[in-house]
C-alpha cells in the first residue's frame, strides 16, 4: 500500500500540499459542501499569509457563492480573529484558510461554526458525507449574494481583548516573532494597545516563513537572541495563523510550549476559581496548578474542538492544549495566542516577577515528544500490545493509550493530521523521561 502524504481529508478539515494534491476544484467542492451544510447562510472567510492563500480564497468564495451563501471576506488575519468575526458578525459559519504550523507549501481549510468553534467530530463527519456523496446544493444565480469585505476584524479582536483582560500599567518591553504569518498584521498593534513597547521580528506578511512555523524551542533561536540583545522583559512567538503561542523568558530561554497554558491558567485561576480543561497530552503541571489554586482539572481527547466541547459542557473558565494553545472563553472559543500574551503579561505585572521567577514557583517536569511513521495496518495491533504490556497500570483509552505511572505518564496515539504515531512522555526528570521513551520505543518495535 502506498498512502498519499500530500493530502489529508479528515474531521480536522482538508489539508494538503499546493501544486500537488490540493487542487482548486477540490477546494471549491469542499467549500460548496460547507455552504450546503450551513444551508446557504452567512459565512466568514479569512486566511493566513501563505502564498497560496489567494488561490485558495478564490476557489472557496466561488464554491460558497454557488450555494447561495452570503460571503463576508475578512481578508488576511489570524485564525482566532476569524473565529471571533464569525461570532461578532452573526455568521452561521466560517472557513479559515490556513495550514497553521505546517510548512509553507501546505494549506488547509478549517471549518468554523457560528459560535466561533471548529466543527465537532460528528459535525465534521456530516460535512464529509456531503462532500463524498456530492450532495452539494446549487442556488439559482438570481439568488447569489454579492461578496462583502469586512476590514475591521483585527481591530475588533484587539478591542475585545483589551476590554475583557485590560490594559497593562507596566510598560513591558516585548519581543515578538510572527514568522511572517498572520500575526504580523496584528501583534505589534495589539501589544501597543496593551501598553507595551514592541520589538518586532519577522512581521512581513508575505507567507515566506523565515523559520519553520511551529513555535517549538529549536525554531526560536533568533527570537532568543533578540530578547537577550534588546533586554526585553519577555519574548513571544506565534505560528503562521497565530493560534499557538511560545514564550521566551527574559534570559532568552524558551520555556516550553506546555508552560504557555500553565502560566495562563495560573493567572486565571488566581482571579477566579473554576474548571480548567486540557487534553490528555498536556503537562501534569496543570494538575498541580489546579490543586494549588483550588480549581478543577478535566482532560479531553486531543484536538481543539474536543477541548472546547468539554469546556462548554463543564463551564470551564480556561482551557487549551500543551502545544501553546490557550482558550479563554471570555474572549474567544478557540486557541488564541493574543489572549495568551495578555494573560501572561498581566501575570507578570501582578506578581511583579519575571517569567523565570514565576516558573520557579511551579513544579518542574521534563516532557519528551516523538513521532514515528507506522503503517496504518500496524496501529491497532500496537495499541493492543501496549494495553497488555501496561495491564497492571492505570490506563486511559479516550484517545490512543495513556498510561499513568507513579509521578509520570506515557501517551501513544495516532495523529489526527499526519500519518504518524505520536508518543509523549512526562516525568519529574529528563533521565526518567528518557528511560520511559526507550521503554516505549522497544514496545513499538
Amino acid at each position: 500500500m502506498r498512502p498519499i502524504r500530500t493530502l489529508k481529508i479528515s474531521i480536522s478539515g482538508v489539508r494538503g500540499v499546493i501544486g500537488d494534491s490540493l487542487s482548486p476544484a477540490l477546494l471549491a467542492n469542499f467549500a460548496q459542501s460547507f455552504g450546503t451544510y450551513v444551508g446557504g447562510a452567512t459565512v466568514v472567510v479569512g486566511r493566513d499569509t501563505r502564498t497560496s492563500g489567494e488561490m485558495v480564497r478564490h476557489a472557496v468564495v466561488s464554491g460558497l457563492i454557488a450555494t447561495g451563501c452570503r460571503v463576508i471576506d475578512v481578508g488576511v488575519c489570524p485564525v482566532p480573529t476569524i473565529q471571533l468575526a464569525a461570532r461578532n458578525l452573526h455568521a452561521h459559519g466560517g472557513i479559515a484558510i490556513t495550514a497553521s504550523h505546517n510548512p509553507a507549501e501546505w494549506n488547509a481549510l478549517k471549518f468554523i461554526k457560528g459560535d466561533g468553534c471548529f466543527l465537532s467530530s460528528y459535525e465534521a463527519e456530516e460535512l464529509l458525507r456531503i462532500y463524498h456523496q456530492h450532495e452539494y446544493s446549487f442556488a439559482p444565480s438570481r439568488r447569489f449574494r454579492t461578496l462583502r469585505y469586512y476590514p475591521r476584524a483585527i481591530q475588533d479582536h484587539i478591542d475585545r481583548i483589551v476590554e475583557k483582560i485590560g490594559r497593562l500599567k507596566s510598560g513591558f518591553r516585548v519581543a515578538v516573532d510572527c514568522c511572517n504569518g498572520a500575526g504580523s498584521l496584528m501583534s505589534p498593534q495589539f501589544l501597543e494597545a496593551l501598553g507595551c513597547r514592541v520589538i518586532p521580528l519577522h512581521v512581513i506578511p508575505d507567507g515566506r516563513f523565515p523559520r519553520p512555523p511551529e513555535p517549538i524551542a529549536q525554531n526560536l533561536s533568533e527570537l532568543s537572541q533578540l530578547v537577550r540583545d534588546s533586554k526585553a522583559d519577555v519574548g513571544f512567538a506565534q505560528d503562521a495563523d497565530a493560534d499557538r503561542l511560545a514564550i521566551i523568558s527574559e534570559s532568552g530561554e524558551p520555556i516550553g510550549e506546555d508552560n504557555t497554558l500553565a502560566l495562563a491558567a495560573y493567572y486565571v485561576l488566581g482571579k477566579t476559581r473554576g474548571t480548567v480543561v486540557v487534553n490528555l497530552s498536556t503537562s501534569q503541571v496543570l494538575d498541580d496548578i489546579a490543586a494549588m489554586r483550588g480549581g478543577r482539572l478535566l482532560r479531553s481527547r486531543i484536538g481543539e474542538v474536543n477541548v472546547t466541547d468539554r469546556m462548554k459542557t463543564s463551564g470551564a473558565i480556561i482551557g487549551g492544549e500543551g502545544n501553546g494553545g490557550v482558550i479563554y472563553p471570555q474572549v474567544n472559543f478557540g486557541r488564541d495566542s493574543f489572549v495568551g500574551m495578555a494573560l501572561i503579561l498581566h501575570l507578570m505585572q501582578e506578581e511583579q516577577k519575571t517569567v523565570t521567577e514565576i516558573l520557579a514557583q511551579l513544579p518542574h517536569y521534563s516532557m519528551i515528544k516523538t513521532a514515528r511513521q507506522i503503517a496504518s495496518d500496524q496501529i491497532p495491533g500496537l495499541l493492543e500490545k501496549l494495553k497488555r504490556f501496561y495491564g497492571d497500570k492505570k490506563i486511559d483509552l479516550q484517545d490512543g493509550v495513556k498510561i499513568h505511572l507513579d509521578g509520570s505518564w506515557i501517551h501513544v496515539r495516532p495523529s489526527n493530521t499526519e500519518p504518524i504515531m505520536r508518543v509523549v512522555v512526562e516525568a519529574p526528570s529528563l533521565e526518567q523521561a528518557e528511560k520511559l521513551v526507550q521503554e516505549i520505543e522497544a514496545q513499538l518495535g
Binding site: 501544486g19 482548486p24 501563505r50 489567494e54 439559482p140
Partner: protein
C-alpha cells in the same frame, strides 16, 4: 433542453447544476496550461459573475499564470488590452446576449482575437485530458488589478474617427447599457465625442433590466427614453459590448440585421472592398457591396470565423445579423463602441439623420424559428435533411448546416453554437415568400427529425 454547451466557442451554460464552480475552475486550469503566461480577465455584471470570476482566478493562479484582473468592462476592451500588452491570452466571463441565468467563458489569444476552431479544439483536448499545470506554492503570482482597459479602448477609437466633426454636431444620444459591461465605458466614449448623453440601465450593481439581446423587441425602454429626450439616435448594448441595437430619431427600433447593414453602407462608401458575414445574415450586404463595387464573403456562424476572415482578407467590414460588427481599423473583433463612433462620424460629416441612412438600406423580410431538441438529436436531424439534398442539383451550400439560395430569397438551417437547438432562418423580398420558405423548412425538418 441541455443547460450546458461546451464547444470550440468556449463553455457556456446556466449557472448552477450545469455551470458549476468545479467546471469553471477546470476550464480556467486548461486555459492556464494551454496559454501559460500573463492572462487578462474581465467580466460582465450578471449575478453569477463574481462566483464565476473567483473560480476562474483560482484555476488560473493554480496553473501558475500571472493574472491581470480588468474588472467589469466590455469584452472588446479586454481584447484590445491583451493584444496591446502582448499577453498570452484572456478570459472573458460573460454570456453576452444570453439571458441573465446564463454565463460563459470566452477565450482570447495573444493578438486579442478569439480562439479559432483549431485552438478551441486544442483547449478542449487539454480540458478533457485533465492534466493541468500545477504551480508550486512559491510560484503563485498575486493577481494584479488594472482599471485602465476602458481608457485604452476609448483612446484607440477616438484616434480613428473625426472627433472634431462629431463634437461639432452635438448629438443627443439615448443609451441603454442593460446594466452590463458597457455601463461606464459607453457614456464616457460619448462624452468624449461631445454628445449629450441620456442614459438608462447603467448601474453595475443592479440586475439586468431586460433580455440583454439588443434585438428590436428588447429596445422598448430605449425607444421611450429617446422620445422623451428628443434624441438624435438611440443605442442599446448587450452585457459585454459586442452587439448593438439602434433606434432612429423617429423612435423606430431597427432590425438587428441593420447594424451590419448600416456599417457596411458607411464603410464601403469610404473603402470599396470585402464584407465578411455568415450564412444566416441578410442579403442586403450583397446589394450594398454591388452598389459600392465590393463583394461579400460568407463564413460559418460564429464571430471567430468572421473576425479571422476579415483579417485574412483585409476586409472593409465584417459582422453578423445579430448586431455584432467588426470595425477592422479599431480591432479584429465585434466592438459596439467602435460601431457607435463610426456611425456618428458618418452622420456628422454628411449632416444626415439615422432614419435617412436607414431608408437607403435594401428592404428584406427575415423570418426565424428555433427548434428545441436534445443535444444528441441535433446532428442526426441535420444529417438526415442534408442527405435528402446532397444528390439534387440545386444551389445548396453545406459549409454551415444547409443553405438554399433562390433569386427571390434564401433559407438556412443550422445547429446553434451556443444552445441546444436548430435555427431556421428565411429571408425574402416580402412577408409571404419568407413565410412560405420558413414553413417549407419546418415541414421538412418535421419529416426527418430523429
Amino acid at each position: 433542453m441541455s443547460l450546458l454547451k461546451i464547444s470550440i466557442a468556449g463553455v457556456r451554460g446556466v449557472v448552477g447544476e450545469a455551470l458549476t464552480p468545479e467546471l469553471l475552475i477546470r476550464f480556467a486550469q486548461a486555459m492556464g496550461t494551454y496559454a501559460n503566461g500573463k492572462i487578462a480577465v474581465c467580466r460582465d455584471t450578471r449575478p453569477s459573475g463574481e462566483m464565476a470570476l473567483s473560480a476562474v482566478l483560482s484555476g488560473l493562479i493554480a496553473s501558475g499564470c500571472q493574472v491581470i484582473d480588468l474588472g467589469i468592462c466590455p469584452t472588446p476592451s479586454m481584447q484590445l488590452y491583451v493584444g496591446e500588452k502582448g499577453f498570452s491570452g484572456g478570459i472573458a466571463v460573460t454570456a453576452g446576449h444570453n439571458p441573465e441565468e446564463w454565463n460563459a467563458l470566452k477565450f482570447v489569444r495573444p493578438d486579442g482575437m478569439y480562439f479559432n476552431a483549431l485552438q478551441g479544439q486544442e483547449l478542449l483536448d487539454v480540458y478533457h485530458q485533465g492534466e493541468f499545470n500545477k504551480a508550486r506554492w512559491d510560484q503563485l503570482p498575486p493577481v494584479v488589478c488594472d482599471g485602465t482597459a476602458v481608457d485604452g479602448h476609448i483612446a484607440r477609437i477616438v484616434e480613428q474617427v473625426d472627433v472634431k466633426a462629431i463634437r461639432a454636431r452635438r448629438f443627443k444620444i439615448a443609451l441603454d447599457c442593460c446594466n452590463g459591461g458597457c455601463s461606464l465605458a459607453s457614456p464616457r466614449l460619448l462624452e468624449q465625442l461631445g454628445c449629450e448623453v441620456f442614459v438608462i440601465n447603467n448601474d453595475l450593481t443592479e440586475r439586468l433590466p431586460h433580455d440583454p439581446d439588443p434585438s428590436s423587441g428588447n429596445l422598448s425602454q430605449l425607444k421611450a427614453l429617446l422620445k422623451a429626450a428628443g434624441a438624435d439616435i438611440g443605442f442599446g448594448h448587450d452585457t459585454d459590448g459586442e452587439r448593438l441595437g439602434i433606434v432612429t430619431e423617429k423612435g423606430e427600433p431597427l432590425h438587428q440585421e441593420k447594424t451590419l447593414g448600416l456599417l457596411a453602407r458607411v464603410l464601403l462608401e469610404r473603402r470599396p472592398g470585402i464584407v465578411v458575414t455568415n450564412f444566416s445574415t441578410s442579403r442586403m450586404v450583397e446589394d450594398l457591396a454591388r452598389r459600392f463595387g465590393g463583394s461579400v464573403v460568407r463564413t460559418p456562424v460564429g464571430q471567430a470565423f468572421i473576425a479571422g476572415k476579415v483579417k485574412e482578407l483585409d476586409a472593409t467590414v465584417g459582422g453578423e445579423g445579430s448586431g455584432g460588427v467588426v470595425v477592422p481599423f479599431v480591432q479584429y473583433t465585434n466592438d459596439s463602441l467602435a460601431v457607435i463612433a463610426v456611425l456618428l462620424e458618418y452622420l456628422a460629416c454628411r449632416r444626415r439623420s439615422i432614419s435617412e441612412l436607414d431608408s437607403e438600406l435594401p428592404r428584406y423580410v427575415m423570418k426565424k424559428q428555433d427548434i428545441l431538441l436534445e443535444p444528441y438529436q441535433i446532428f442526426s436531424t441535420l444529417q438526415n435533411l442534408r442527405a435528402q439534398w446532397e444528390e439534387r442539383e440545386e444551389a445548396v451550400d453545406f459549409t454551415d448546416g444547409i443553405k438554399w439560395e433562390w433569386p427571390d430569397g434564401w433559407l438556412h438551417v443550422r445547429a446553434s453554437n451556443t444552445e441546444s437547438l436548430i435555427r431556421v432562418i428565411a429571408e425574402a423580398r416580402d412577408e409571404s415568400r419568407a413565410t412560405e420558405l420558413l414553413d417549407g423548412a419546418l415541414a421538412q425538418l418535421g419529416s426527418v427529425a430523429g
